[in-house]
Symmetry: C2
Subunit: 240 residues, 2 copies
């Protein structure tokens, strides 16, 4: 991924050049504008000053949501050395970030052994659904090596589980006491449930996601899922 | 909760006065030190510059971890109006923050309809276990009113579920590409699993937590839980 000197989000959304690298970035830093942690080519205007830029607390926008977590981590956390576990998490966080950033998504947050990534905001990409799927494939590839490197190559219950869904979400700041930039709505919930249902090494897609990539993955398999909070079974695809 | 002019964390941990309110705070803002979002009386030194202060990526320290989430939110997100859902989340985030801050805990992160709060870091409190339990009670009380206010008073499947565990965690920055301040370790995992097992309106404690508050809650009930990733049943207490 090529790093840029101005914030790509502010440029694409508003045509405002905000320096995040190089000598001019010092001026912005002095007034509190810094690089975003969510993507190295974005700035904090894209997140915390959201309300000022868009004039709304949240906006409804089509996005693709990717959830990934480490299957077997709880198991492992009871037996493995802490230093090894920490190293594992570090590497997982790094691999997630790199895979997501490479496809113009943002890493919205990590919680424990899970990650929430958003595609198509603030960097609007026509192919955001495909981008998310490609990021998931890269992530699985990188994490497979990770498994070998910490001596868990043969452990079948250990691996990364991924769920992807796409649709309209609300993106923006939630809360007034603790302000938080995130995506909310039923699309986020379904992506999260899908991830919980994914086995180690699996990428689960909803029909809405699969539709955009089905031609390239003819080996994918339909799986009906009973998910917590969903009255009817949900049709999903195991990417293959 | 009384707001302070200097960062309580830096003062208690290092006896360094860092202005976060009032005229002197401008000087600190200019060099990038601001109020933390995790607690209004803490500054960003307590989190992002962790490695410089403690000279370690992470430190092992006894903490109490509280996870809370909205039971029935997925269900609701398929039927209720989006504006109502957003209002619900806003109020939930606010109520969580206020309840946790009041007891000197920090709101580490929100993800979807869940919150992760940490007690005993960076504000060290002898009674951190009790503080977390009291914050949970306050949170349940406040959210009960919330339920009525959005016309869900009679909906039994809707409510907040809370899980609390205590023990040694690693606190600090995880990741190098995307740096994140959080708590990791098996204590965090068990608290999260406990929360998943809590019904609407329930507060589930591990035996380690219950030990510190058992005298005040004689009506609590023992419940054996089969939790994902745990080989043996886990003994928990439903606070009552």
């Amino acid at each position: 991924m090529k790093t840029t000197t101005i914030c790509q989000g502010c440029w694409e959304q508003m045509h405002v050049p905000i320096a995040i690298r190089g000598p001019f970035s010092i001026l912005y830093k002095a007034i509190g504008i810094r690089k975003s942690r969510m993507h190295p080519n974005l700035c904090t205007v894209c997140e915390s000053m959201f309300t000022k830029v868009k004039k709304h607390k949240q906006i409804a926008t089509p996005v693709t949501i990717l959830f990934a977590d480490i299957r077997g981590y709880t198991d492992l956390s009871q037996s493995a050395e802490t230093s090894k576990l920490n190293e594992l998490l570090h590497t997982f966080y790094d691999q997630c970030s790199l895979a997501v950033w490479e496809k113009d998504g943002i890493v919205n947050k990590f919680i424990g052994d899970a990650v929430l990534a958003i595609f198509n905001f603030p960097l609007n990409r026509k192919d955001h659904v495909r981008n998310a799927v490609e990021a998931a494939i890269d992530l699985q590839k990188n994490c497979h090596d990770l498994k070998d490197s910490i001596g868990l190559g043969e452990n079948k219950s250990f691996g990364v589980g991924i769920g992807i869904h796409t649709g309209e979400c609300y993106i923006g700041e939630v809360g007034t006491a603790y302000k938080d930039f995130t995506a909310i709505g039923s699309v986020v919930n379904l992506a999260s449930r899908l991830q919980s249902a994914a086995g180690p090494g699996e990428i689960l897609l909803t029909s809405e996601v699969f539709r955009s990539v089905s031609n390239d993955f003819p080996g994918s398999e339909n799986r009906m899922l009973s998910l917590k909070g969903f009255e009817h079974q949900v049709s999903s695809y195991v990417l293959g």
